[in-house]
């Protein structure tokens, strides 16, 4: 992958054309940063730390600002700060084997690094869920204890392979009951009451945001690919913390307009005629090394679909009552593609391979995310057998640059490209 680093190669370097509005991502980010300042200034406003798969909408409904340690950890990685923060946390006793997001956050909080480098401030409360992993609650509980703030965890039952409908309904009941517990917890600690008007407004906006993202993914099925994983990995930010507010919707509308314009002209993110291989990427990106995705372009490969970024936009149902809404929310928390069990993963991945005309799949076996990495070997085998496309399993880490080995990754990627090429000639 160091082909891209070599100045001698720059003359023939394939440049991806990012969308005109990619630059506009700064607006929702600035809005979010500004809002945090406002929420911290006004005494009646509240802030909370939260994590992936937590129903952020509930926080906006109660007018709680969602601060997001994982999101800030990715900022730290992109700003080349994560390694020193991780090492700081390891110096505090946290093992090398633990989640690099967690250690980045612990390091960031302890060193009081500034927000633009991935820093994060003390919240009024910590709200989390184990929907994605138990690391979330272990990490958030440790930090809530350290910061001495109230802590709430949503316990999400596991949707294992073969779970039947009746069991699923029981699981949903359990989550719905906890959502009521969550509302009681928030009301106790904020003194605020649920406003049905606010709920309807937030949910309508959230649905609009996710529908826009899903529509955007429909356009990604086009050949050549108009929008790559290199871009979605940055632009999905509004889905992380802004479902329920307008600013993300405006941003996605602009992206969508750009994509439509591009596909109408038959253009792709790669220069004309350069897109050779359409790749599906599963897992969290290497945030400290986003160039990896751009470097794939040097081989004619474009990331055309990622279950990870798609996970943040589940298909939401318009519901008429609170009960119905909470049942839908409960099911969606359990139904995130990033958390699919092996059977559902195989089923959906194979469907996506067809829909997005995928030539090869890269699975990031993430040392910081063991739950998502479990079953990848079987997943790879199933895809190779059923769909006949090459699969590359890359063992690495999302936020810890120490796990990234340039030479080894380059060798493996080049082997993967050769397999895709050979496969096309069959």
């Amino acid at each position: 992958m160091d082909k891209a680093k070599n100045p001698a190669d720059n003359a023939e370097r394939v440049m991806m054309t990012t969308l005109p509005h990619a630059q506009d991502l700064k607006w929702p980010m600035l809005w979010w940063i500004g809002m945090e300042k406002l929420y911290r200034t006004l005494p009646w406003k509240k802030t909370a730390w939260t994590c992936a798969a937590f129903p952020i909408e509930i926080m906006w409904i109660y007018d709680i600002f969602p601060d997001h340690p994982e999101n800030m950890a990715t900022v730290a990685a992109a700003r080349k700060q994560s390694q020193r923060l991780i090492e700081h946390a390891e110096g505090m006793g946290f093992s090398r084997d633990l989640c690099s997001y967690c250690k980045t956050n612990i390091g960031a909080y302890d060193t009081k690094i500034k927000k633009t480098l991935g820093g994060i401030s003390k919240p009024d409360m910590v709200l989390c869920t184990n929907a994605i992993c138990d690391t979330h609650w272990k990490w958030f509980q440790i930090m809530a204890d350290k910061m001495n703030v109230p802590f709430f965890m949503l316990d999400i039952p596991k949707w294992v392979s073969g779970t039947d409908e009746k069991t699923l309904e029981g699981n949903i009941d359990y989550v719905v009951n906890q959502l009521y517990d969550l509302m009681a917890f928030i009301e106790k600690h904020t003194g605020k009451k649920m406003s049905e008007k606010s709920m309807q407004k937030v949910l309508a906006r959230s649905m609009e945001l996710t529908n826009l993202w899903r529509e955007l993914y429909e356009h990604r099925k086009a050949v050549p690919s108009p929008y790559s994983g290199a871009e979605t990995s940055a632009s999905f930010f509004p889905l992380v913390v802004l479902p329920g507010v307008q600013v993300g919707i405006n941003f996605f509308k602009k992206i969508l307009a750009d994509i439509k314009n591009k596909t109408a002209k038959g253009e792709g993110t790669m220069p004309a005629g350069k897109e050779k291989y359409r790749v599906m990427w599963e897992g969290i990106p290497f945030w400290y090394r986003m160039r990896f995705m751009y470097d794939l372009a040097q081989y004619g490969a474009v990331i055309s679909f990622e279950p990870y970024t798609f996970s943040f936009a589940p298909l939401k149902k318009k519901c008429l009552t609170i009960d119905e809404t909470l049942r839908d929310v409960a099911k969606l928390i359990m139904d995130t593609p990033y958390g699919y069990n092996l059977e559902r993963r195989i089923e959906h991945f194979e469907k996506w391979i067809d829909e997005y005309k995928i030539d090869g799949v890269i699975l990031h076996e993430n040392m910081s995310c063991r739950p998502s990495s479990a079953g990848m070997i079987d997943l790879a085998e199933a895809i190779r057998k059923d769909k006949g496309v090459p699969v590359l399993i890359l063992q690495c880490d999302m936020n810890d640059p120490r796990a990234y080995s340039e030479g080894q990754i380059k060798t493996r990627v080049e082997g993967f490209i050769e397999l895709m090429e050979a496969n096309k000639k069959k």
Partner: protein
């Protein structure tokens, strides 16, 4: 009586339901002396090596078992269920979703999951799991817990090698309850007849990842350490509390399993510390040994706040990260001996 195996990273599996179905509960603990092949083909190198060993055991022995029940525990191994479903040949594989929490919502869900387990066992094996049978199983379980507690208490009074205690716990988790009960009676007699606690040994509390093989216990003995208390799942968590016998048997199981001393896989940290504090209050110890098996995330997270809290209270504590192998543990002996020497140099607690 045929064994029904269970995958359980702590003590979440309601053993009494398996007993009431007419089976001997058998905790899958792997074999550290055997290679993890072919489990290593399905699980990457950075997964819990103990869990890989369990899969290797299941791949080799599943046909000897009536079936397998997975209890929700460590999140890093929960998804192994899907892998077992593909590769392990068994006529019965069931997921038991033990909730993480313990409020009213969790209690309701726990009851749903207990009933689902009962229905699954009844349908598969043509048995009837009646409240009477569950009550009978609870009575037998409580007998084992009572006897184990008695046996465990002798660790700080008599000359009991560390491996003898581990062997007793493992027997309770793998062999028919009636046989174990009779065996425990004879062990209590045997242990009572042992000489007094050896004067040269240090009394330690063991906390962290589970130990499932005796070689590690021998290393501790060789270093002058006797484990007199612990908060392990293959340990005191099994018998620290009794199952209530008076109420509805499912309510009793819910109350018991939600109330046992917390492992690192269950919230909250405070509750886990509460048990450790109680242990330290009840038993005079010289120090604390905190151990973490490589890639065991839940205990690695806990080890920092737990160890900091205990050290801040003045307890002498050593934290070791261990590989899952009996051989490499010898390399830690020097550190342990230095720790023992350090304990000789001052007071504690």
């Amino acid at each position: 009586m045929k064994k029904l195996a269970y995958f359980d990273t702590s003590h979440e599996m309601p053993l009494e339901i398996i007993m009431a179905a007419g089976f001997t509960p058998f905790k899958i603990m792997g074999d550290v002396h055997k290679s993890n092949d072919p489990a290593d083909k399905y699980l990457s190198s950075f997964f819990c090596p103990a869990a890989s060993s369990w899969l290797a055991e299941a791949l080799a022995h599943s046909k000897e078992w009536a079936g397998i029940v997975f209890a929700q525990g460590c999140n890093n191994t929960n998804r192994h269920y899907d892998i077992w479903k593909v590769h392990v040949e068994t006529p019965f594989l069931h997921w038991f979703g033990a909730p993480m929490l313990e409020g009213d919502s969790a209690k309701k869900y726990y009851r749903v999951e207990l009933q689902r387990l009962i229905n699954a066992l009844e349908n598969k094996f043509g048995v009837k799991i009646t409240p009477e049978k569950i009550r009978e199983a609870i009575g037998k379980s409580n007998q084992i817990k009572k006897k184990m507690k008695q046996l465990s208490g002798l660790r700080s009074q008599k000359d009991i090698p560390n491996r003898d205690y581990l062997a007793a716990v493992i027997k309770c988790l793998t062999e028919p309850v009636d046989e174990v009960s009779a065996w425990l009676d004879s062990e209590i007699t045997r242990w009572n007849a042992k000489p007094a606690f050896p004067s040269g040994k240090k009394r330690l509390l063991l906390t962290g990842s589970d130990v499932t093989y005796p070689e590690w216990m021998d290393v501790l003995d060789d270093c002058g350490i006797r484990i007199v208390r612990d908060d392990l799942s293959v340990g005191e968590r099994l018998f620290a509390t009794q199952i209530p016998e008076s109420s509805d048997p499912l309510d009793a199981l819910i109350e018991y399993y939600m109330g046992i001393p917390k492992p690192a896989t269950r919230p909250t940290l405070k509750k886990r510390l509460d048990y450790l504090h109680q242990v330290l209050k009840d038993t005079k110890i010289d120090g604390v040994l905190s151990q973490n098996i490589k890639f065991c995330e839940p205990y690695a997270y806990d080890s920092v706040p737990v160890n900091n809290a205990l050290q801040a209270e003045g307890y002498k504590l050593i934290h070791l990260e261990r590989m899952y192998t009996p051989d490499a543990d010898q390399q830690l002996a020097n550190r342990l001996m230095a720790f023992v020497e350090m304990m000789d140099g001052g007071n504690n607690g």
